[in-house]
């Protein structure tokens, strides 16, 4: 009902009745938009440029992976896990492989060389993921040349992955029981060349962004997330550490050989996007530090890259080609799948985005009875409902970029 006197801004319309008087606009930040984060649909209620209410709408990339898992044997499902967090594919593979290994009880029998290779792949994937984050975040905020620089570095890291497993993006490089391939000759030298050069490039990015007035103005005091809120909304990884809580699963519940490696976990005190940005940069330095320590560890290990558990894991190719029992076992494992014990596990690992957890409930069948993936981006996106109201429209893009969400994980 018309309650105020009409003026030029609010004229009087004879046969129109407005539902609301407050001039709020509802804008659809549609599922296809140029900022590179995938298919996020945000329904924003704006008062001018100020966001009053934000409703994220996800599910535009839902592919039914959890139902697929209930219809596939464990090894068959592993390449599907690649497609969840498709920026750092080996981390998902690793999470799944570790959960199945815990279910089978063979996590102590993984050969040491396989563990070292796995850690190298994980840290390389962390570098790849953080570079992608920086590239797209800077692109959204407006610093477009960082996108090209970061992708250039990323290409070198993906060359390394390609030399190892043959694929740039969807690796399937970590299997249940170890890794399928040993490192090629000269791979560690190339890795060493890469990580010697890499910190200088990160320094270049820092020189461009960290003390940049515009970058600071866009990122400081934007997306404030208190520690209590972060815990309540289920944030993990750099988003949680950006609010002051020092929780890194690699340090607190170490898996693989992370307890033998010396590295620090950066924690930021300021709860805004700038703190998280500095965290990601610091983590990139830490990854190179870890990789430096892993290379001599690799050369100290004996050959052997898959666990020897004939009940669940096939034998090596040399044995398959010569030993009949190994071939028969392999045939059964591939055509029917292995039968794990009855029970459930939940295993969380530190993916570049946060706490990636796999919950597997097995009833003794070769297929998981229920597989639920705890994807960090899912919980970070639900956080948007709380964190966006009160910010301006330009900050919405910054916050979404800063939270490092990837839609393959959210929708699975």
């Amino acid at each position: 009902m018309q309650t105020q006197t009409p003026n030029r801004l609010n004229p009087f319309y004879e046969n129109l009745v407005f539902e609301r008087e407050d001039n709020h606009m509802i804008v659809n930040f549609g599922p296809q938009h140029p900022s590179a984060h995938g298919q996020l649909r945000l329904i924003l209620e704006l008062d001018g440029e100020l966001v009053i209410k934000a409703t994220p709408d996800v599910g535009y990339l839902h592919r039914g992976m959890e139902k697929m898992a209930e219809n596939m044997i464990y090894n068959e499902f592993l390449p599907t896990t690649d497609r969840m967090d498709y920026i750092a594919a080996s981390s998902n593979n690793y999470g799944f492989a570790l959960s199945v290994e815990k279910l089978l009880g063979i996590e102590g029998q993984i050969p040491r060389r396989a563990m070292v290779i796995r850690m190298m792949l994980l840290e390389l994937n962390r570098i790849i993921s953080h570079l992608f984050w920086l590239a797209t975040h800077a692109l959204d905020v407006g610093a477009m040349s960082i996108f090209l620089f970061c992708f250039r570095e990323r290409e070198f890291a993906m060359d390394l992955m390609e030399d190892y497993c043959g694929a740039r993006l969807t690796h399937s490089a970590i299997r249940i029981g170890g890794v399928p391939l040993d490192l090629p000759k000269g791979w560690t030298d190339e890795l060493l060349a890469f990580i010697t050069k890499f910190p200088n490039d990160v320094k270049d990015y820092e020189a461009l962004l960290t003390k940049n007035r515009i970058w600071k103005m866009r990122l400081e005091d934007v997306g404030m997330l208190t520690a209590k809120d972060a815990l309540n909304w289920g944030c993990s990884g750099p988003t949680l550490r950006g609010s002051g809580i020092a929780w890194d699963i690699r340090k607190e519940e170490p898996y693989e050989l992370y307890d033998e490696i010396d590295f620090e976990v950066p924690v930021a005190d300021r709860t805004d996007s700038y703190g998280r940005y500095k965290l990601y940069i610091a983590e990139m330095y830490e990854c190179t530090k870890i990789l430096h320590q892993l290379i001599p560890m690799y050369h100290d290990t004996k050959p052997g890259i898959m666990a020897r558990v004939p009940e669940y894991i096939s034998a090596t190719k040399e044995e398959l080609m010569t030993d009949n029992f190994a071939l028969m076992q392999h045939f059964v494992l591939v055509s029917q799948g292995m039968r794990p014990p009855v029970g459930e596990v939940y295993v969380a690992t530190e993916s570049p985005k946060g706490e990636l957890g796999y919950y597997i409930n097995s009833q003794g069948d070769p297929y998981p009875y229920r597989l639920k993936v705890r994807a960090p981006s899912f919980w970070h996106t639900s956080l948007l409902q709380q964190i966006l109201p009160g910010t301006y429209l330009a900050d919405v893009v910054t916050i979404i970029g800063n939270l490092n969400i990837v839609f393959g994980e959210i929708d699975r």
Binding site: A36, G38, L61, F149, F151, R168
Partner: protein
């Protein structure tokens, strides 16, 4: 794969008699194809890598445009879910003629490895596709090769043919 019921004598196979004006116009169109950023899933990352420093896409004259009104070619990169299906049709309709579609990756071609309830089994159920690009994810060079094939196809077409309703699958 779509069933091709193509009459090779009429279009696409033997060269249609092209006038100089045709050749000029199609030369211009093919060398400045502006793609619509339609990255849906993992293939989007490879599409971005194709546009980035090493596999530069800009040397083909392509500039990624976010608005369908300004775009010539729609590169569907990634899995099309059923929830999203109506938007791809909407955006395709919003693009202005002449327009082409490159379907990048297995998921866009046929639904890929996701033989599930929520995946459209191939983007060509909804919109007509000109070039199919296999791979999971296809390398950036493959996407560039597909673009070059599309350029070749465009140069063989005649410029002012009335927009025939394109047949779907």
């Amino acid at each position: 794969m779509a069933q091709h019921q193509v009459n090779y004598l009429q279009e696409g196979g033997l060269p249609v008699a092209l006038t100089t004006v045709d050749k000029l116009v199609q030369w211009g169109r093919s060398n400045s194809l502006w793609p619509l950023t339609y990255g849906l899933a993992c293939c989007a990352i490879e599409m971005m890598a194709a546009g980035a420093s090493r596999y530069d896409f800009d040397r083909f004259g392509t500039i990624f445009r976010a608005s369908p009104r300004q775009a010539d070619v729609m590169v569907v990169a990634g899995t099309l879910s059923k929830k999203h299906a109506q938007f791809i049709k909407r955006l395709y309709d919003q693009m202005a003629e002449p327009k082409w579609v490159i379907s990048m990756g297995s998921c866009a071609n046929t639904g890929g490895m996701f033989n599930t309830y929520a995946t459209v089994q191939g983007v060509d159920r909804l919109i007509p596709v000109d070039i199919y690009l296999p791979g999971c994810a296809p390398r950036p060079e493959t996407l560039q090769y597909a673009l070059m094939m599309l350029q070749k196809k465009i140069r063989r077409q005649s410029a002012f043919s009335k927009a025939k309703p394109k047949r779907l699958v």
